[in-house]
C-alpha cells in the first residue's frame, strides 16, 4: 500500500500540518518543476502555516503569493502545467473553491480529455475543509462530494499525519489532477510517527484503522478519529466490536477494500461531515448495496450533518456529527 522510494531516514512525531509541510519541502527540493501558489502562502506561510518556510527556502519564484482570486489561481495553474511546471495551488478554504468551480470542474478535470491526452494536468489542489473549530461562515463546509461528480479529478482526504505526507507526495507525482483535502480540525490535533524521508501512499486504497466484528464504520478525514473514539465507547459501554475503515481516497474509490470490510460484519454505518443529501455517503451506500448486497444484514446507515447550511460556531456541535451521533448510528444499524 505504501512505497518507500528512498531510504527512510527515521521517524518523527508530526501533526498533520507538519507532515504536509514536510511533504511539500521534500518534493520541492526533489523536483524543480514544483511551484506552490495561492493566497498568503508565501511570506506568511499560509494561514495555517502549511507552507511556512517554503518561500525562504525556495524563493519567490516557486512559492507565490497571488492576488485574491481563486478562479485565476486555478486557471493559471492549468497554463503553468501546460508550460511544463507542476503547480500545487492552495485554496485557502474549500468553501472558496466555489469561486474556482468552473476552472476545476470544467478545465482542470477535463483537460487531458479535452486535448485527448496531449495536456495532462499534474496539478494538486490543496485545501483545508471541515468543521469543529468555530470558524467564520463558509470556512468549514465539507463540499467534497461536489468534486466527486467530476470525472477526471481525483479526490483524496487523509485522516492522519502518515497518510497526509505519503498521499501528498503521491498526489504531486500523480500525472492527473488531485484535490487534496486537509482536515482543518486535524491540522494540529492529529499527530503521529511519520518517516522523515521520502515515501508515498498510493491513492485509491482504503485502510482498516481498527479491526472489529459487529459493525463496519466507514469514514474519511477528520471523521475517522471520531469513529475510533465512538468505537471505544461502543466497546466499553455496549460491548460492541467496531471495524473502522478510512476511505482515504474518494476518487478513485477502493471498492474492493470497502466491500471486503463490509462483508466482514454485514452491517454498515457511513460517517461524514457534509449534509446527508448527495453527500459522498450516498455514493458509498449506493456502491456497497450493489456490490455487497447479499452480505448486508441491515440497511446502511448514514451519520452526517443535516441538510442545512453550516451554522455559526455556537450551533456547530448540533451540526457536525459527534461521537454520540456515531454511537447512536451504530446502535441503529445493529437493532435492525
Amino acid at each position: 500500500m505504501s512505497t518507500v522510494t528512498e531510504p527512510v531516514v527515521g521517524t518523527a512525531t508530526m501533526n498533520m500540518v507538519e507532515a504536509i509541510r514536510d511533504a511539500l519541502t521534500l518534493e520541492m527540493a526533489r523536483d524543480e518543476r514544483v511551484v506552490v501558489l495561492g493566497e498568503d502562502v508565501g511570506v506568511l506561510g499560509g494561514v495555517f502555516r502549511a507552507t511556512d518556510g517554503l518561500q525562504q527556502r525556495f524563493g519567490e519564484r516557486r512559492v507565490i503569493d497571488t492576488p485574491l482570486a481563486e478562479g485565476v489561481i486555478i486557471g493559471a495553474s492549468v497554463g503553468l502545467a501546460i508550460s511544463g511546471l507542476i503547480p500545487v495551488p492552495e485554496l485557502q478554504f474549500l468553501g472558496f473553491g466555489h469561486q474556482a468551480f468552473h476552472q476545476i470542474g470544467q478545465q482542470v478535470a477535463r483537460f487531458r480529455f479535452r486535448s485527448q491526452g496531449r495536456h495532462p494536468m499534474p496539478i494538486t489542489i490543496r485545501s483545508p475543509f471541515g468543521g469543529g473549530v468555530r470558524t467564520p461562515e463558509l470556512h468549514s463546509d465539507a463540499f467534497e462530494a461536489l468534486y466527486t461528480n467530476t470525472p477526471g479529478l481525483k479526490v483524496v482526504a487523509p485522516a492522519d499525519a502518515y497518510d497526509a505526507k505519503g498521499m501528498l507526495l503521491a498526489a504531486i507525482r500523480d500525472p492527473d489532477p488531485v484535490l487534496f483535502l486537509e482536515p482543518l480540525r486535524g491540522y494540529r490535533l492529529v499527530s503521529g510517527e511519520v518517516p522523515t524521508g521520502d515515501y508515498t501512499v498510493a491513492l485509491g486504497r482504503s485502510k482498516v484503522v481498527r479491526e472489529g466484528e459487529h459493525v463496519t464504520v466507514i469514514a474519511y478525514s477528520a471523521a475517522v478519529q471520531l469513529c475510533t473514539k465512538a468505537a471505544d465507547v461502543l466497546a466499553a459501554e455496549h460491548g460492541i466490536s467496531t471495524h473502522v475503515v478510512d476511505v482515504r481516497s474518494l476518487v478513485p474509490l477502493d471498492v474492493e477494500g470497502i466491500v471486503a470490510a463490509v462483508e466482514h460484519t454485514g452491517r454498515v454505518v457511513i460517517v461524514h461531515e457534509a449534509p446527508l443529501t448527495s453527500g459522498f455517503g450516498a455514493e458509498l451506500a449506493a456502491t456497497i448495496q450493489r456490490e455487497a448486497f447479499y452480505s448486508l444484514e441491515a440497511p446502511i446507515e448514514r451519520v452526517t450533518a443535516p441538510d442545512t447550511p453550516y451554522p455559526l460556531g455556537g450551533t456547530e456541535d448540533f451540526y457536525v456529527p459527534q461521537v454520540d451521533d456515531i454511537v447512536r448510528g451504530v446502535l441503529n444499524a445493529l437493532e435492525r
Binding site: 482570486a69 468555530r134 441538510d307
Partner: protein, 358 residues
C-alpha cells in the same frame, strides 16, 4: 509605444479636506455640519472602544474571530454618514461595524453574531443592511441587483457596497461593476484600500497605479480619496450618492487607508507587516485628525474626550450585557430558516437532532 495607447493611469493624489493636523484645506467648505462631525467622531470612537474590548474578550475565548476597524474609522463613518438609513442600504464585507450601527443595527446584535449565535444573523426589520459577507466580493453583484431593484421600483434608494483591495481582485467585482454601468444602478462601490489582504500587500494585489481607475472600463467615474479624512470621504460619498440618486449611475470610490492592526484575531501581522510603513501611518490616525480639527475650533478638549470615552465604554458594556442575556443557541435554529416550509426529510432530521441533543 503606439501613438494611440490609452494613457497609463498615472498615480492620483487622494482628495484631502483635513490635513493630518486637522487643518481644513484652503477653499474647502466642510462637508459635514458641526453636529454631524461630532456624531461622526463619536461613532469612530465607539468603534475604537469596541475593537479594544472585543479583542480582549476574544483573547479570553468569549468572542469569536473578528476583524478590527482600527485605522479605517473615517473611511467607513464618512461614507456611511452620507446615506439616508430610511431608504438607502449598506452592503458590507465584514470590517464595517460603524456603517452597520449608523444604519440602525444595535451593537448587541453584531456582538451576538461574533459570539457564534445564529440569532445575531437576523438583522432587525427596517434596518437596511445585508448580512456580513465572508465570501469575498460575493456581496458586490448582490448590491448591484439590490440597487437596480430599488431603481426599478422607484424608491429613490441608493446602495453603498463595501469591499477591500483584496476583494477587488475577484471576478465578482468586475461582473458587478460592468452590469452596474450598463443599467446605471444607483450604487456606490466603496473600495477600502487598507494596504493589505491578510498578508498580501497592495502592490502584489494589482499593478494598477490606482484601483479607482478601473471605473473607466465600466463607463462611470472613479475617485481616490484620503480614507483617513472624515470630511473628504464624506464629501466624495455624498456626491456619489447624489449622482446615483438622480439617475446618473454608479461611482467607484477608492478610499486609501491603512489597516493598523492584525487582519483578524487569528492573524500575526509581525510576520509580514513592515514596521516602518506601520509607523508612518500612525500620525495619520483618522480619529485624532478630527479631534484636532474640532479642538482648533474649541469644540473639543481632553475633558470632553474622557467623558465621551467613558460613555462609549459604558455603551459597549451595556450591549455586551444584552448580547449575553440572549438565550444560548439551540439545535432548532439550525432548521428554522433553511426553507419556508421544511421538506419532510428535513423535518425528520430536525426531530432526530432535537430529540437527541436538546
Amino acid at each position: 509605444m503606439f501613438a494611440q495607447f490609452i494613457p497609463d493611469g498615472a498615480p492620483v493624489t487622494p482628495i484631502q479636506h483635513l490635513s493630518p493636523d486637522g487643518v481644513l484645506a484652503a477653499g474647502v467648505t466642510p462637508s459635514m455640519s458641526d453636529d454631524q462631525l461630532l456624531a461622526g467622531l463619536r461613532l469612530m470612537m465607539l468603534t475604537r472602544v469596541f475593537d479594544t474590548k472585543a479583542m480582549s474578550l476574544q483573547r479570553q475565548g468569549r468572542f469569536g474571530t473578528f476583524s478590527q476597524v482600527t485605522g479605517q474609522e473615517a473611511s467607513i463613518v464618512g461614507s456611511a454618514s452620507a446615506l439616508d438609513p430610511l431608504i438607502d442600504w449598506v452592503v458590507p464585507q465584514y470590517r464595517e461595524l460603524p456603517a452597520l450601527l449608523r444604519q440602525g443595527l444595535p451593537l448587541s446584535r453584531f456582538m451576538l453574531y461574533f459570539m457564534g449565535n445564529l440569532a445575531g444573523s437576523r438583522i432587525p426589520d427596517g434596518v437596511n443592511i445585508l448580512p456580513i459577507q465572508i465570501s469575498l466580493a460575493a456581496q458586490i453583484p448582490q448590491a448591484v441587483g439590490l440597487a437596480w431593484g430599488l431603481q426599478m421600483q422607484q424608491t429613490g434608494g441608493v446602495v453603498v457596497v463595501y469591499f477591500g483591495d483584496g476583494a477587488s481582485s475577484e471576478g465578482d467585482f468586475h461582473e458587478a461593476c460592468n452590469l452596474a454601468g450598463v443599467v446605471k444602478a444607483p450604487v456606490v462601490f466603496m473600495l477600502s484600500n487598507n494596504g493589505w489582504a491578510i498578508s498580501t500587500p497592495r502592490h502584489k494585489q494589482s499593478a494598477a497605479s490606482s484601483l479607482a481607475s478601473r471605473a473607466i472600463g465600466y463607463g462611470f467615474p472613479g475617485v481616490v480619496v484620503d480614507g483617513n479624512d472624515l470630511l473628504a470621504v464624506h464629501a466624495v460619498t455624498a456626491e456619489a450618492v447624489a449622482r446615483a440618486r438622480s439617475g446618473h449611475g454608479p461611482t467607484l470610490i477608492e478610499s486609501v487607508t491603512y489597516r493598523m492592526g492584525p487582519h483578524n484575531t487569528a492573524d500575526d501581522p509581525t510576520r509580514y507587516v513592515d514596521a516602518a510603513a506601520l509607523e508612518s501611518w500612525k500620525p495619520l490616525d483618522p480619529i485624532v485628525r478630527v479631534q484636532r480639527h474640532l479642538a482648533s475650533r474649541r469644540l473639543w478638549d481632553d475633558d470632553r474626550r474622557q467623558t465621551v470615552e467613558a460613555e462609549l465604554s459604558a455603551e459597549v458594556d451595556a450591549a455586551l450585557v444584552i448580547a449575553r442575556a440572549e438565550p444560548a443557541p439551540t439545535a432548532s435554529q439550525l432548521f428554522d430558516h433553511v426553507y419556508a416550509d421544511p421538506p419532510s426529510t428535513l423535518q425528520r432530521q430536525r426531530a432526530a437532532r432535537i430529540g437527541a441533543t436538546s
